[in-house]
Each structure stands twice: as structure tokens, then as C-alpha cells.
């Protein structure tokens, strides 16, 4: 399976993402610059964290108009797995690939520490290696991770089982303790915690690795005969 790590000016978790895929997951991966206009050779798209375009105007607001985003939208429409972490999640929200928006953290602080998450839905292409209700430890590092959506949107997220991860102890004021959501089709996941920073015990946790293994497992089941 071949992954693309999309790099915007100001991305800063792209190297961690690359390392997680290449060295810990053991799959193919390439960096793709934001002005690229072809993602057809990739099976999975990863939008890393950071501060694309300096977070000018709003987090993710400018990145959403980068040339490569047309291709990211196309990949999402084709059903390819698209994962946005932290700033990547913010970009997916601004691009309208996921519903809702991000606000400043409730306490106005940049929070950088490991948090406990609950796997609410383990029937997605991103979470099939986890148990339902499993508690995992993944670090967060953000100042704007206070997820917000209106009540109607929240009801539809709940009804369609689109809430994938919730915080055990809400760090940022997110509505319904939301840490990660998928689109209705289930192939676009946005999450504030950084699974790519939790891929080996040396890093303090390897709980994030199963997320990437889940993507590969789903892809193999769909694309490889005798998988």
C-alpha cells in the first residue's frame, strides 16, 4: 500500500507521519508538496499536523485552497482512505470534507500531553484493529482543538456512528468530548490526537500504530485476493 504525506508550508508533523508509515508500519510512503496536482498513484492520503500557512485567518483556511486539495477531495470521493491529524483535521473541516469547525481551546492554552481516548466505533477502516470501547493513549498538541458543531449536526454524527474517538477527560472543551470523526461514507477521518507520535514503546505509546494497521488491513481486504 502506498501513502502520500501532503506537505504544506508550515506543516511540521510530516516527518513523524513519514517515519510512522515507513519504519513502524512498513509500507510505502512519499511526501507530496501542496502544489502537486496528481494523487492517482497513491492508495491512502495523510494530512499531517502543523501550522499550514502560519494558521493565518483560521487554522486550515488557506491550505484548503492549495492546488493539491482538489486531488484530496477527488481521492475522498473515490473512497480512498484520507486521514487528517490535528492541522490536517482542521483543513478537512475547512474543506467541507467533514462537518463542524474548530474553536480556540476552552482554557485558551496550547495543550501538549498524552491523553486517554475511547474507541467509540471500531467498525471503520481506521479502527478495525481496536476493540470497541478500548481505551488508548495518544498525545495531543494543539491550541485550537475545541470541536464545535450545531445540535442538528451532532445528532446526525451520533446517529451515523461518525464519532470515532472521544476524550476520557475533555482537555479542550470539545462538544460531546469529540476527538475524532469520520464522514458518512467512513473513508475520511479527522482527529486532533497524533497517532503518528504513538507508534512505538520508545515514544511512550504504540497505541497509534493499530490505526495505520487498520487502514492497511481494510485496503488488503478490498484489493488483494486471498488476503
Amino acid at each position: 500500500m502506498k501513502f502520500a504525506v501532503i506537505v504544506f508550508p508550515g506543516s511540521n508533523c510530516d516527518v513523524d507521519m513519514y517515519h510512522a508509515i515507513k519504519d513502524e508500519l512498513g509500507e510505502e510512503v512519499e511526501y507530496v508538496w501542496h502544489d502537486h496536482d496528481d494523487l492517482s498513484g497513491f492508495d491512502g492520503i495523510l494530512l499531517p499536523g502543523g501550522f499550514s500557512y502560519g494558521d493565518y485567518l483560521r487554522s486550515g483556511a488557506i491550505a484548503r485552497f492549495a492546488n493539491v486539495m482538489k486531488e484530496v477531495v477527488k481521492a475522498a470521493e473515490e473512497g480512498k482512505p484520507v486521514l487528517g491529524v490535528c492541522n490536517g483535521f482542521q483543513i478537512l473541516l475547512e474543506a467541507g470534507l467533514l462537518p463542524g469547525a474548530m474553536k480556540r481551546n476552552e482554557n485558551l492554552k496550547f495543550i501538549c500531553r498524552p491523553v486517554k481516548l475511547k474507541v467509540e466505533n471500531n467498525e471503520t477502516m481506521f479502527t478495525n484493529e481496536y476493540e470497541k470501547g478500548e481505551i488508548i493513549t495518544i498525545p495531543i498538541a494543539h491550541g485550537e482543538g475545541n470541536y464545535y458543531c450545531d445540535q442538528e449536526t451532532l445528532a446526525s454524527l451520533i446517529e451515523n456512528k461518525q464519532i470515532v474517538f472521544t476524550y476520557e477527560h475533555n482537555p479542550n472543551g470539545s462538544i460531546h468530548n469529540i476527538a475524532g470523526i469520520v464522514n458518512k461514507r467512513g473513508n475520511v477521518l479527522g482527529m486532533m490526537p497524533h497517532p503518528e507520535r504513538a507508534v512505538s514503546e520508545l515514544l511512550g505509546s504504540s497505541d497509534g500504530l493499530k490505526l495505520f494497521q487498520s487502514i492497511v488491513r481494510s485496503w488488503r481486504e478490498a484489493h488483494v485476493t486471498n488476503a
Partner: protein
């Protein structure tokens, strides 16, 4: 040409954590009369001569980029001025 002033604020229904912090600071300065603070953004645009409707253009800019309608409200003032 046109001078455009755009004001963007969090929607009334959305809690403003920055506004709350500033309100508390104002209270600690003894301005207890302050009942609410909303923090927003102010942008100035200069738009050259065009055949298009400036109002329609600005509205589209606000909807698609300058504000995020999920959490923000916007308003704008358009003033026609002599070209530089």
C-alpha cells in the same frame, strides 16, 4: 474603486473563550459594568473597478474564505472612493 471593511465575529450561539477571558480581566480592572465581550477580526479590502457586483463579490469572499459560517458571523461596509 471601493474600500471594503469586513467584520467577523463568533456567532451569538457560540461561546467565545477569548471574549470571556477579556471580560474577566476587565472585571478585575473594576469595570464590572461590562456584561459581554466578543472578540473578532477586522479586515480592509481595496477593490478596483469592476463590472461585477461588489456586494455579491464581497459576500462570496466572506462565505467561502474570510469567515467560517459554521461558527462565525460577518458583516461588511462598502464605500466607493476615487481611484488612487
Amino acid at each position: 474603486m471601493y474600500k471594503v471593511k469586513v467584520y467577523v465575529t463568533l456567532r451569538e450561539s457560540v461561546l467565545d473563550p477569548q471574549g470571556n477571558a477579556v471580560k474577566n480581566a476587565l472585571h478585575s480592572m473594576d469595570f464590572n459594568e461590562v456584561e459581554d465581550v466578543r472578540i473578532g477580526k477586522y479586515m480592509e479590502l481595496e477593490i478596483g473597478e469592476t463590472d461585477r457586483s461588489v456586494e455579491k463579490m464581497v459576500d462570496e469572499m466572506c462565505k467561502k474564505l474570510l469567515a467560517n459560517p459554521v461558527i462565525e458571523d460577518y458583516r461588511y461596509e462598502i464605500e466607493e472612493v476615487a481611484a488612487k
